[in-house]
């Protein structure tokens, strides 16, 4: 049916991304397989390689990775306005839903059972983040990665103990990364 949509229109891009974004729980990485299924396999609008390349660029940019990827897909399909439509389609469900939730949140947060549910779920989120940190830290606990492990520990200490502005820490980490890369690159040449 939809696979006969050979030429993607702006509205088509908007509706496709809107559909994917509305029914995807659990954030960015869950949406990549869905984008692949829809845009690569079903609609044939982009190919597998392009999506992989776009995912890499999306990850290298600030902001929500999946929005970045959608924007790139939009650019590829219909230029600037395609990108704008993809951005709107991907972000609108989250904006509208959370605005609505914020409204109800103020109404029901005082309820005893709602509070209890939130307390339990917050504990769950704390565990999820702890799990993520363990997974993210694991690759750096190696001898050849000691410089990057130091960046990790340094960033933690700077934020937790010294209360240094997060913005400064992020810029510093990026700078140190560039310096390490440059020094290693030069050593290899010599």
């Amino acid at each position: 049916m939809q696979s006969e949509n050979k030429k993607p229109t702006c509205i088509g891009i908007f509706l496709q991304t809107l559909g994917i974004a509305t029914f995807t729980l659990g954030g960015g990485y869950v949406m990549i397989p869905l984008l692949r299924e829809r845009f690569v396999k079903k609609l044939g609008w982009i190919d597998e390689n392009e999506l992989t390349e776009m995912t890499a660029i999306g990850q290298s940019s600030p902001g929500a990775m999946i929005i970045n990827v959608s924007v790139l897909v939009g650019y590829r399909l219909h230029g600037f306005w395609g990108a704008v439509c993809a951005l709107l389609g991907t972000s609108l469900p989250a904006i509208v839903l959370l605005a609505a939730m914020c409204y109800f949140y103020d109404l029901i947060r005082g309820n005893r059972l709602v509070s209890a549910a939130f307390r339990g779920m917050n504990a769950g989120v704390a565990a999820v983040i702890a799990d993520l940190v363990v997974s993210m830290a694991a690759p750096y606990i190696k001898k050849e990665q000691v410089l990057y492990a130091l960046i990790m520990v340094g960033a933690f200490a700077a934020a937790f103990f010294l209360n240094i502005n997060v913005a400064i820490i992020i810029v510093a980490c990026g700078t140190v990364g560039v310096v390490i890369g440059a020094v290693r690159g030069r050593r290899k040449k010599v």
């Binding site: 954030g27 600030p62 989250a94 704390a126 492990a149």
Partner: protein
């Protein structure tokens, strides 16, 4: 004016939010809890929970929630679009550069430094949520919420061992919270 402050805060979060999803949490926490006092730490923890159990990127969820709280519907859209603008411009630029020159060594080097740094910062945000959930404001032994602490440890063990979905884990913890609230009088 509140809208300008909101916009500037989320523009900054958008510029610096490298690493996707959870990586923006430390930035949001600093801007919204510490610097501007738009959210309490409890509300920030609740916001994380809501972001996890609803569709869409965590950062957009957070921007919309905070914007709505501070400036209504207009605030929700303003904060979300302010957050998305810098990445949109950067992605546009990168796309052009990438197509022309292939891989950018410097960008990759910067990212390899950012990734471990972001891991460290997420650890700080996670620790904040743990402290808020178990102790409230300050760490005092007497105010330890043993139920929450046990729930966090149990959920972490289950996550490491069986890798269930994030949403299933969080909702199960919510159910446990309600059950505990209902049966707690029996123990007191």
């Amino acid at each position: 004016m509140i809208y300008i402050k909101l916009m500037l805060s989320f523009l900054l979060i958008g510029v610096l939010g490298f690493g996707g999803g959870y990586a923006v949490l430390p930035l949001i926490q600093q801007q919204c809890v510490q610097t501007n006092h738009w959210l309490t730490m409890t509300e920030f923890s609740d916001l994380l929970t809501l972001s996890q159990i609803t569709p869409g990127p965590v950062a957009i969820n957070a921007a919309s929630f905070v914007g709505m709280k501070v400036g209504g519907i207009a605030g929700a859209f303003l904060a979300s679009f302010a957050f998305m603008l810098p990445p949109f411009l950067i992605v546009s630029l990168l796309y052009v550069v990438y197509r022309k020159y292939g891989q950018l060594k410097t960008v990759q080097n910067a990212l390899s430094g950012l990734k471990p740094g972001v891991a460290g910062l997420i650890a700080v945000a996670g620790l904040g949520v743990i402290i808020e959930t178990v102790w409230g404001s300050a760490i005092v032994l007497a105010s330890t919420d043993i139920f929450s602490l046990a729930l966090i440890v149990a959920a972490l063990l289950v996550l490491r061992k069986w890798k269930p979905g994030v949403i299933v884990t969080i909702l199960a913890c919510g159910v446990m919270g309600v059950i505990w609230e209902l049966i707690r009088p029996l123990f007191e």
